[in-house]
Symmetry: C3
Subunit: 314 residues, 3 copies
């Protein structure tokens, strides 16, 4: 491998990191990786950061092995599902050889599953977003409950959801923390500092996208508080990460720029909060996390009608 | 707004009411609303009737705001999902500002979701039926369990279904009551009188549709009793409303008129009863009602094969 | 009916038996039926074998009544879902008139559901495989829990899955037994002798398919043991039957013959084991068996990308 090949390989990988938030920009991807390493160390779970790197590389290799070069690889579209798989596995599963083996296998599957899903979806004008990551991770987390080879250490126990009382610190510094965690949780990182780094990473490539991400986390926070959702989830940013992705997708990536379109994106952001709450309840009896399913689902729902006012001229 | 506009707006709304049972007829729609008001007052839940009106108006407004005029609006296809959303929310959720806010939001979403789903389904020769209502209502009912802003007052608790003993009053007057409630439950109304009004409403527009509705409720009742289904559900018409809709859809709306086609509709009606029982069991651990999902699912299943003997010549 | 008609009817039925493992060969079908009768009697459940025959006949009759002759009937594509329905109902439900009535109804529905699903799937280059059987059986098993007319005698109770300790006899004769049961469980038969007969049945039509079936059961066994899956399920071949079907589908039916394609089939077989474990966990709270859903799901996932190296030239 000569130096030009090496450089293009690194660009492909960094783009894969950036594409988690739809940014095809190596600097964005590099900042995202910095944020992941910073946040993972802050939470004393460095294995999450290494998982991210290994997932990113495995998924990209799977693309190189099966797809044609001129395909979506260099834009980073092979890696973004894999990096998310790599963040989730060490977060919820114990640190065994079985966890690392399935992390690699699942990351590779995510690239092939993306191609499979896009084949079905693209004729409808939508794509699979991060759903390959979501579906495959659910499968392996469920399997881990019944296979001692990789065990669900910190995965919540399956239970019929009980009640909670609503009490939340709503001082300004607390709210800012929740708001930033809403952004950092896109990578399953629970750290306001990492959230700041991710926001900076987006801004490097697109100020518009960064504004939508920031606004989405704030709107989602307001809706979750107004409707008195689970305060523990609010405080950890768990009502923010899906709306952040919906915001970037509907405000920056897939729609044209005009007032009606902005209102449409806003509506989608609000809807995502309710879909997030519903998904949490739906998965509670299975002990599964919602991951980014609420973002995928809501974005498909708001893109499919194809109303003229938001469809991009191409 | 001049008087001609007003008149056409009212027609649009009444058609939206009628379209719940596939009848594009203002008089039918008006009778349905009468039945809803009568039944809701009989059950001492007038908020259900007001919810129906607000849901109908919100969903229709959502259509006016986003769709083109010549689209399905005037036929009432914007409103029928919304009126059902409006019946369900006050039935299961407590009477708070959060309930009314989400009722309006969910009704508007139902119009957009209908367009989204139809985009996917119409190339297959089917349409979304009342599934936008079903899916969105499930989402908001699930969310209500984990958001104190709107709380599930009368929603059944999530539970692993326990056993029951089969004992049912099968005298003729009791059976007639179950049969009429099977029709009234289409709008979540538990009242034989309302069932009679709904049946009259259908007959105003189409005697054939009314016959199919009446026959479907009777057949479903017979199958449910023969297979000794949950007697509490039978007595409240909960095995009837989905087959009633399947009956109208398969016997009157989507298929041609001949003997084989009538047998096909009959088969679909019987299948709906089992799908209803299965859906009840599937949703019990989540504490969710089946709504009209069994009707949608079975109707899709029986339309998709596209056999020549039932496909309408157009 | 003259003797030529009779002969072609019997061929149609036997092909329906053979098509469960993708073999359009009357001798294969006859051997499969022998294996079913042998295994059912060994397990003292002869009603399973009679159920298989009745399901096969009902499903084929449903095809004759609704489809055109030149359609997939003679190849046995009407019967294979029905024979599986017929194996499952007497295995899990008690021996009542309601069980036999729904067995016949569900078998007939399986033929129509196959046509319905294929209409949707065929434009994507996939088909419904055994999913009509899976979906309908789930519906009727769920319904049986809430209808006393046919009751779930030996269906596992719905429960939130508890833990188990991993201990498994891994002597060579034990492993051979698990491996053969992995093949026999395709028809829900728990018998190594029946597994041998089924393997012989496949070999009669295609040695390649037999090798893939044998290899798939072995690979699945190895993966399940390496990841320490539920030992009770391993010992009864319940991690084998889905990979066996995936192996035949990906190694013999739907892909071209070359090294890369064989590696792809191997990957699919391994993935099926994890999907099987996940499906078991997903369905545990509902008390439903996974049936062949893991095979259907994984095969779709690996066929959909349509990579050039495995797509059959036609």
């Amino acid at each position: 491998m000569n130096s030009s090949n090496l450089k293009s390989s690194i660009t492909t990988l960094l783009n894969g990191s950036g594409q988690v938030m739809f940014q095809q920009n190596s600097w964005t991807g590099a900042l995202f990786l910095c944020g992941i390493f910073y946040g993972a160390c802050e939470c004393r779970m460095p294995q999450v950061a290494w998982g991210a790197v290994i997932g990113l590389i495995s998924a990209t290799l799977a693309g190189i092995m099966t797809e044609r070069k001129e395909d979506s690889g260099p834009q980073g579209l092979w890696g973004f599902n894999g990096i998310l798989v790599g963040c989730v596995f060490p977060t919820f599963l114990s640190n065994t050889w079985g966890m690392w083996a399935t992390l690699i296998f699942c990351s590779m599957l995510s690239t092939w599953t993306r191609t499979a899903m896009n084949r079905v979806m693209e004729s409808r004008g939508i794509n699979s977003l991060t759903f390959p990551f979501v579906m495959l991770t659910w499968i392996f987390l469920l399997a881990a409950r019944t296979m001692h080879g990789f065990t669900p250490e910190t995965l919540p126990a399956p239970e019929l959801k009980s009640h909670f009382s609503f009490s939340l610190d709503t001082s300004i510094p607390a709210l800012v923390t929740y708001w930033l965690k809403g952004i950092s949780q896109v990578f399953l990182i629970n750290s306001p500092a990492a959230g700041t780094i991710f926001l900076a990473g987006i801004a490097v490539n697109s100020r518009r996208a960064a504004i939508y991400a920031a606004a989405a986390s704030a709107i989602a926070l307001a809706v979750a508080i107004a409707f008195q959702a689970d305060p523990h989830a609010i405080a950890n940013g768990l009502f923010g990460y899906s709306p952040v992705l919906t915001g970037i997708a509907m405000g920056y990536v897939f729609t044209s720029y005009n007032l009606k379109s902005a209102i449409w994106a806003m509506t989608a952001i609000i809807a995502t909060v309710f879909v997030q709450a519903a998904t949490n309840m739906l998965l509670a009896p299975l002990g599964l996390p919602a991951l980014t399913a609420p973002f995928c689902f809501t974005t498909w729902l708001f893109l499919l009608p194809g109303y003229r006012f938001f469809v991009k001229q191409q």
